[in-house]
Symmetry: C2
């Protein structure tokens, strides 16, 4: 079973939602059979590369005063802490996340995507130093177990893994996602938002119970044990009868 999670690193509800999902997954009896994949989603592809303080950004995005925006940020922090997540209550910033998503695809190819995603969330939501500080992404790549020089090359080449990011975004769009986090189980069930852990647990259970294990729709004929040289149906190697 495969769970794809569309997220943006700049989205605090992705950080919180992932923790809630992870808790549901921990308790799921078939968790060993579940593969989790990060998918890219940029909330604002046009945002600049230079980091800016987050409270004025929230105010501008939702048409709030600075005080209301500050209160909203504090409520998000409360939610994060309720999930046991560290959260930097003041001084957070945000910037364009495209390079982070490119780096996550690079990490996936090296079996380090989950580690890098955790490192990015921690750097962006829990650390004093900005995740967008120069050189910080290459450092986080190393902390996630990746080769620093290779990661630096990926970061220096804006085309590297750019297509993979765009494809994830096109798929999310085709599936009707207009926000994140967006969870898709086996391309059949969707969960939108940082739902409670119980909802994720129910979705995992429902996906498991409804998984189409057999029969698949069959394309083409049956494979015979035709490696014996018999003329017949399409060719395959059969399990020997002991």
């Amino acid at each position: 079973m495969r769970v794809e999670i569309w997220s943006d690193i700049n989205c605090p509800w992705c950080y919180i939602g992932k923790a809630r999902f992870d808790r549901a997954l921990e308790r799921f009896p078939h968790r060993e059979a579940v593969e989790v994949v990060h998918r890219s989603f940029e909330l604002d592809p046009r945002s600049p590369r230079e980091a800016r303080p987050v409270v004025p950004l929230i105010a501008a995005k939702y048409g709030l005063g600075l005080e209301q925006a500050e209160a909203a940020e504090q409520r998000i922090a409360d939610n994060a802490e309720a999930e046991g997540l560290a959260y930097l209550r003041s001084g957070r910033d945000a910037a364009n996340s495209f390079d982070m998503h490119r780096l996550l695809h690079f990490a996936a190819e090296h079996g380090r995507q989950a580690e890098l995603l955790d490192a990015l969330y921690r750097a962006n939501f829990a650390e004093e130093r900005s995740a967008f500080a120069p050189g910080r992404l290459a450092e986080l790549a190393v902390e996630a177990g990746l080769d620093g020089a290779e990661a630096a090359r990926v970061l220096a080449d804006p085309d590297a893994y750019a297509q993979a990011v765009r494809e994830d975004e096109a798929t999310a769009s085709a599936m009707g996602a207009t926000g994140v986090p967006f969870f898709v189980l086996d391309r059949r069930l969707g969960v939108s938002g940082a739902q409670p852990t119980e909802t994720f647990a129910a979705a995992l259970e429902q996906a498991w119970e409804s998984r189409p294990v057999f029969p698949l729709v069959k394309v083409g004929g049956d494979a015979g044990a035709a490696d014996s040289g018999e003329v017949g149906g399409p060719d395959g190697c059969a399990v020997p009868r002991h």
Copy 2:
């Protein structure tokens, strides 16, 4: 879209079937959106680790005389060459493939599964030197771009990735596979055997046309733009309205 291919490295029809599938994929207009995953399937988990000549094995497996078995092997070679594949017409051997499958899972974690699979097929079907010769797997890992020392550690530890191999086999069994190659498209369509390229092309087309892009079955409520601090539905980060 994801295509999972259950194969055994000892199965010549897997070698041939993969070439036919690859040709269909090359011509598929949406090939960039297709992810191919190798899944483990051991035709004979009880076969010994020591390599034995393949023709007597074919004879024993299918109750043939040695001459018939030799003729069967030559017909397989004809099929392979018709696909443009190199094939060692005499002197092929076979042995237990469990370590190969474990190594393929290790390779997947490092983004090198496709490369290792090609190297294993080439070593087993096209090269004079046995793929089962001591040290050969570690060499092939390096040829596939993996770290030799890490690969050697995986090979030396019989538990490494053993669970991943068993899980693939349990999934194949749950899906009703009794032989390989066994192709599964998005866990919805199945193609059994080394079918003609046209059949794979039709399966890719059918899977693409029938992909459930929208709507997914929704679990839980809608995510609102609740990062503004509004009380409401489950929390998510919305795309800003520019």
